[in-house]
Structure formats: structure tokens, C-alpha cells
């Protein structure tokens, strides 16, 4: 959930600086002020300022929760804020915690409008005629606006229906994680490196595809995606040849390599932030589709394509690993790099191919995720822990482990929302990760020898 803050030097620099686009020292610069550049606003209507929750002193905002009680938060409800004379300030959607907020230019009177179409099935405004509210905003404290909602009875989904829908969502999400995680697992398997920057490869692919699709040449998403995957593969190759291979030749220790990937992740993430900006954008195609009802499950044609496409890609990868010469060489190098060298396999070349393929798959995962959710500069780093979970659950070092682990993580995450608040769903996946590490660290498909 990307949030954006403008902060003054009085706030904690580190956590904020590390994450937020605005920087810390603006307010103290010899009396100068932060010029308040916060990116574009309302260009094609597809951008939306990301909601904020807590605010620094001196900034005015309007916020709210859905439902007002805070119990069973509803995500994705859209609110629009206008000045008293009807000029639009901005709009926002509720996040996983049901919270939305819009920063306003200053204290004063504003109008807030809710879009009832964005309420989920089975929930409606208690007073359907009242879709607008007036509010006065004071400096430094967010003004809260609440709209009462209630169940309209009837269509409450049964447990089985919810299970089916969540399973479908879980499969979709899990396949995306699986795809992105295969590279992570294979890179570890062949070189022993835990690539903390893998999340940034995911983001990079999604962002490049966005530039090709919604900006620049404005290609259709398939073409934009394809080219983005190629470019990211090239980036992977560059990283391996330019950074990691020379370091391995210098016999730099694995821990140091790990820290290097952490530095690289920081670097790439913020470089993407500079280049792409702090706002969420969507791709130009495949938005706003109506859902098909397939039995208890409703799914958009786009998501169905994503599921089928991912399955095809993963099966293709598996086939390559099982049947082709280079695929077997990859498995051999993952198994035993020294013996591979002793068998005549050029291990360095295999590692290069692994990086290209792994980076390309990460990019593909990013593009699919961007199509489902939206593209923002932290999407990959948010996914990183889940990818770690997938890879470790499935067995670090094997591609099949990443696939199995990814599906499990996706399913656990989505199905858990039946019982717990959506804001905790990732916690379940992480808890599963910790449990796996304690009980069976080699994962489902891994081998015991790798652990000690």
C-alpha cells in the first residue's frame, strides 16, 4: 500500500526518508520551504494520489474509514474531494485497512463524495441518497468523514462460495509469486547468492512495461510486456556479468554479497522512484472489466488470462528444465556446481542464463501483478518477503520448489482473509515462513544437506 508523505525535518528521517518520496530537510533549509511538488495530479484520470494515514504538523487532510466501525474493513471504495465551489482536489480508494485519505491544500470547507458503485456486493449506503458530505478542515489534524453502510441482506456469500472465490484469488496471486520467485531460487541454487534486489527486478519490469504501454510508444500491453521482459533479462545479465561474477572471482564472502544486494535494492528502488514517481498508475489496457461468473467464482477475463498464461509459462519452464540440455545443466549446477564444472559444463555461462531467465520471469510477474493491482515503485519490495517465503517453503534452490511454494503462499494469504482481517493476511504467509524455517528448513522439495 503506497503512502506518500510530505514531512518536515522534525519527523523521523530514516523510516520516512527510506520510504517516502519527499525528503526530510526541506523545511529547515535556511527558511526555505518545500515547494510541495508532489507529482502530477489528475492527468488522464488514471493517477490517484496514494492515501496517507498520519500527517506531519502543518498539513491538512481529510480521511475516513470504511465501514465507519472499522470492523471487517472494505477495500477499494472510492472517495472524491472537492472545494466548496466544486473544483476537484483529488480522490482516493480505501486500502487494505479500509482507510482512505486525501491531502488538501489548506484549512477550510470541502465536499466529500463517495462513489457507491465501488462498494462491494451486499453492502450499500444506509442512506443511498446521501452520497456527499460537507466538512471543515483545520490545520494539522485530519478531518474525518464517515458514511454509514450496512448489509442489504440477501446476497451474503456462503462459506463455500467465499472459499472458492478466495481460492481462485489465491491461485492467481500464487502463480504470480511463483513466477517471480523461480529466478530467486535458481540464482541461489547455482551461485549461493540470496538476491535481496529481486523485488526490484519485479518493479523494474512492471515500470518499463508501463512506460511502453501508457506513455511513450503506447504499445499494446502484450508487446510492451514482451519488450519489458527482454529488457529486464538484459539487466539481469548486466548485473551478473558486471557485478556478481567479478565479485565471485574476488572470492568475496557470501554475507558480503548479501549486503551488496541489499545496497543494490536500495539503489534500484529509489532510482525507480526518481524515474517513475511516487504515484500508482495502471496500464492502459484491460482495466475496468466486468467479471464473469463461473459457478461460485467470479473473475475478470484479464485475470483468467493471467492464470492460464502463468500456468503455460511455468509448465514451459518446467519442461525446459526437464527436457532440454541447458535446463538439465541448470539443474546440475544447482545440485553441484563443482561436479558440473568437472563434467565439462561451463558453469559461468549457465549462471548467466539463469540470471537472464530469472530476471525476465521476475519482470513478467511484475507486469501481471501490475495488471491486477497497479504499478508503483514499491510493488516489488513488498513482494520480496512473500517470494522468500515461497522459495523457502518450497525448497531453496529448486525451481519447482519456488512454484509449489508460490502457490502455497498465495493460497494461504488469500484464504486466510475468510477468518482474519485483510491487513493481517500477509502475516499468515510470513508466519508460515518462520514455521517452515523452524520445522523443515529445507522446504518441501529441498534436500537436507543444504542446510547445515
Amino acid at each position: 500500500m503506497p503512502r506518500r508523505r510530505r514531512i518536515s525535518a522534525l519527523l523521523l528521517l530514516a523510516g520516512a526518508m527510506a520510504l517516502w518520496p519527499a525528503a526530510a530537510y526541506a523545511g529547515d533549509d535556511g527558511g526555505g520551504t518545500d515547494n510541495g511538488e508532489n507529482g502530477e495530479n489528475g492527468e488522464n484520470g488514471e493517477e490517484e494520489p496514494a492515501p496517507t494515514t498520519t500527517l506531519p504538523m502543518g498539513v491538512a487532510a481529510i480521511t475516513g474509514t470504511m465501514p465507519p466501525s472499522g470492523v471487517d474493513p472494505i477495500e477499494g471504495v472510492e472517495f472524491t474531494v472537492e472545494t466548496a465551489d466544486g473544483q476537484e482536489i483529488g480522490s482516493a480508494e480505501t486500502d487494505v485497512d479500509g482507510v482512505w485519505s486525501v491531502v488538501v491544500p489548506g484549512p477550510g470547507a470541502y465536499r466529500v463524495e463517495i462513489d457507491p458503485e465501488t462498494l462491494p456486493d451486499g453492502v450499500d449506503l444506509t442512506d443511498p441518497d446521501r452520497t456527499e458530505a460537507q466538512v471543515t478542515v483545520f490545520e494539522g489534524r485530519p478531518a474525518r468523514v464517515l458514511f454509514a453502510v450496512g448489509d442489504i441482506g440477501g446476497d451474503r456469500p456462503t462459506f463455500l462460495e467465499r472459499l472458492a472465490q478466495n481460492t481462485a484469488n489465491g491461485v492467481k496471486f500464487g502463480l504470480i509469486i511463483a513466477m517471480a520467485a523461480v529466478g530467486l531460487s535458481l540464482i541461489f541454487g547455482t551461485t549461493g547468492l540470496i538476491n535481496f534486489a529481486h523485488g526490484e527486478l519485479v518493479t523494474f519490469g512492471a515500470v518499463v512495461a508501463w512506460f511502453l504501454n501508457a506513455r511513450g510508444p503506447q504499445w499494446q500491453l502484450f508487446l510492451a510486456g514482451f519488450v519489458a521482459v527482454m529488457i529486464t533479462g538484459l539487466l539481469g545479465a548486466t548485473l551478473e556479468r558486471g557485478v556478481f561474477r567479478p565479485l565471485r572471482a574476488r572470492q568475496v564472502g557470501l554475507f558480503q554479497m548479501f549486503v551488496i544486494t541489499i545496497g543494490l535494492a536500495l539503489l534500484m528502488r529509489h532510482a525507480i522512484l526518481i524515474w517513475y514517481g511516487g504515484l500508482r498508475h495502471s496500464y492502459a489496457d484491460y482495466q475496468g472489466q466486468t467479471r464473469w461468473d463461473l459457478g461460485p467464482v467470479s473473475i475478470t477475463p484479464r485475470d483468467l488470462t493471467i492464470v492460464c498464461g502463468s500456468i503455460i509459462v511455468l509448465v514451459a519452464i518446467a519442461t525446459m528444465l526437464q527436457r532440454t540440455r541447458i535446463g538439465k545443466a541448470m539443474r546440475a549446477v544447482s545440485d553441484n556446481p563443482e561436479l558440473s564444472e568437472a563434467s565439462g559444463i561451463d558453469v559461468q555461462r549457465v549462471v548467466l542464463v539463469v540470471w537472464v531467465m530469472g530476471a525476465g520471469l521476475a519482470a513478467l510477474g511484475g507486469i501481471l501483478l501490475g495488471a491486477v493491482v497497479a504499478v508503483d515503485w514499491q510493488m516489488g519490495s513488498r513482494l520480496l518477503l512473500l517470494m522468500f517465503a515461497a522459495v523457502i517453503l518450497g525448497g531453496l534452490g529448486t525451481a519447482y520448489g519456488a512454484m509449489v511454494g508460490g502457490l502455497i503462499v498465495g493460497l494461504v494469504t488469500e484464504i486466510s482473509t475468510i477468518w482474519v482481517s485483510p491487513s493481517l493476511k500477509i502475516v499468515f504467509a510470513l508466519a508460515a515462513l518462520v514455521l517452515a524455517l523452524l520445522v523443515r528448513p529445507q522446504g518441501i522439495l529441498g534436500r537436507k544437506e543444504r542446510i547445515g
Binding site: 572470492q251 540440455r325 538439465k328 545443466a329 539443474r331 546440475a332 544447482s334 545440485d335 553441484n336 563443482e338 561436479l339 558440473s340 564444472e341 568437472a342 563434467s343 565439462g344 559444463i345 561451463d346 558453469v347 529448486t398 534436500r447 544437506e449
Partner: protein, 248 residues
């Protein structure tokens, strides 16, 4: 083929090798070895003498800090292992000598990675030497018994029809019955024309089948000579074959 460095037609020669794993620590301190065509050369000595390091240095898996290695007259001191495989050298490490998650067939395919088209022909040649493997072609190598794994390890190295085979303690950890089989295979492979360097812990059996042998100590050559001579040399027996005296 020979050059002045290998004088008397040695197929493989290592001279004054200094090598080690960790920077600053030398395991080999000036070690020599010669292998002539058709020979079995044994390398024995106490633990830590540098036996495994010697073959790894020859094969390019350990950095050679000074000294030279030649093969068929060409200097291969800095050649990498996969280049040497292409030139006709094979190596069977002591541990981790198979690909555990790959099947037996796939292990052998990896052995012939550089010439995949010759697979069927080579399989036909290899199968008679390793009959038990032929029954287990689809089995994952990790689930084979210790002895079967050793056989697979050797078979893998032979797929490329090497002219030289480097074996690192092939009988380690095997039951006596399997050890017999291993040494029989070594003999058969040698009869088929492969020259062999064999590092061994089991000095007696090694010297029994070796034409010549080197006894290493603390990274250097201590004794060398014909296998049968060393077998009965009291110095060798006393210092390094304590078990021999007790066993027989």
C-alpha cells in the same frame, strides 16, 4: 607427444606444485607427479598430506600458486576444469560425486554434456562395465546406495572417453565387497586404455593394482616407486601403513 618438460613421454606431469584453498595457507608445497600412458599411478599418504589437493590442483579446481602441470605436452596449469574435460581428462571427486536430484541417466548425460549426440553410443559402451546401473536408469541418484553412487560417479566421468582419469579415494566409505568391485572396475577401465591417477586411503589395495605410486607427506613427495616395491618397503609400511601390519 612430449616436450623437454615431460622428457620421457609422460602423458600427464605436475612439477613443483604449490597450491592451497585459503589465501596464505599452502597445502601443497612443491609436489611432483608423472603419469605415463597406460599406467595406474597411486597417490597415498596420511590425512592432510595433500593427496586430494594434488589432483584438484591438476584438474584446475584449486588455484596453483607456483609450479606447472602439463598434459600431452601442453601447459594446462591455468586451464579451467571444463576445458580439461574437453581435452580428455576425467575427474571423480571423493564426496558429492553425483548429482543427487538428477536421475542416473541424466547424470550420465551430464557426463557427456559436451557431446550430447554421442550419448547412445557411449551408453552402449558403458553399460557392460556397470550392469547394476543399467537397472536403475530412472532412479534419482541421491537414492542410490553408497556403492552404486560410486559406480555412477565413475561412469559419469568415463562418458567422455577420457584418456586420463583422476580418482579421489574411490573406495572411501564402502563395504569391503563394494571396494572389491571398485578396484575391479578400475582395473577394467585401465585395461580399456584409460590412464589413471588414483588417490587412496586404502594403501594396500591401491599399491596392489598400481604400476607406480607416490607417497605424500605434508604437501610434498616422501617416497615414490613401483607399486609392488612400496608395498613391501618397511619405511612405508611403518610410517603410513600401520593398518596394513595389523590387517593382514
Amino acid at each position: 607427444m612430449s616436450t623437454e618438460a615431460t622428457g620421457n613421454g609422460a602423458l600427464l606431469a605436475a612439477s613443483n606444485l604449490v597450491a592451497g584453498y585459503v589465501p596464505g595457507v599452502d597445502i601443497l608445497r612443491g609436489c611432483n607427479l608423472e603419469l605415463h600412458r597406460g599406467e595406474i599411478v597411486g597417490v597415498i599418504g596420511p590425512n592432510g598430506a595433500g593427496k586430494s589437493t594434488l589432483v584438484k590442483a591438476i584438474f584446475g579446481q584449486v588455484e596453483v600458486r607456483s609450479g606447472a602441470v602439463t598434459f600431452e605436452g601442453d601447459d594446462i596449469t591455468s586451464a579451467s576444469p571444463h576445458q580439461l574435460v574437453a581435452r580428455g581428462m576425467g575427474y571423480v571427486p571423493q564426496v558429492a560425486n553425483v548429482f543427487p536430484t538428477l536421475s542416473v541417466t541424466e547424470n550420465l548425460e551430464m557426463g557427456l554434456y559436451l557431446q550430447p549426440k554421442a550419448f547412445d553410443r557411449r551408453m552402449a559402451d558403458i553399460r557392460p562395465l556397470f550392469p547394476r546401473l543399467s537397472e536403475r536408469l530412472k532412479q534419482r541418484a541421491g537414492s542410490l546406495s553408497g556403492g552404486e553412487r560410486q559406480m555412477l560417479a565413475m561412469a559419469r566421468a568415463l562418458m567422455m572417453e577420457p584418456s586420463v582419469l583422476l580418482l579421489d579415494e574411490p573406495s572411501a566409505g564402502l563395504s569391503p565387497a563394494f571396494q572389491d568391485q571398485v578396484f575391479e572396475r578400475v582395473h577394467e577401465i585401465n585395461d580399456a586404455g584409460v590412464s589413471i591417477v588414483m588417490v587412496e586411503q586404502n594403501a594396500r589395495r591401491c599399491l596392489q593394482i598400481a604400476d607406480r605410486a607416490y607417497v605424500l607427506d605434508q604437501g610434498g613427495n616422501a617416497y615414490s616407486g613401483a607399486g609392488s616395491e612400496l608395498l613391501h618397503d618397511p619405511k612405508v609400511v611403518e610410517l603410513y601403513l600401520g593398518t596394513l601390519a595389523r590387517a593382514k
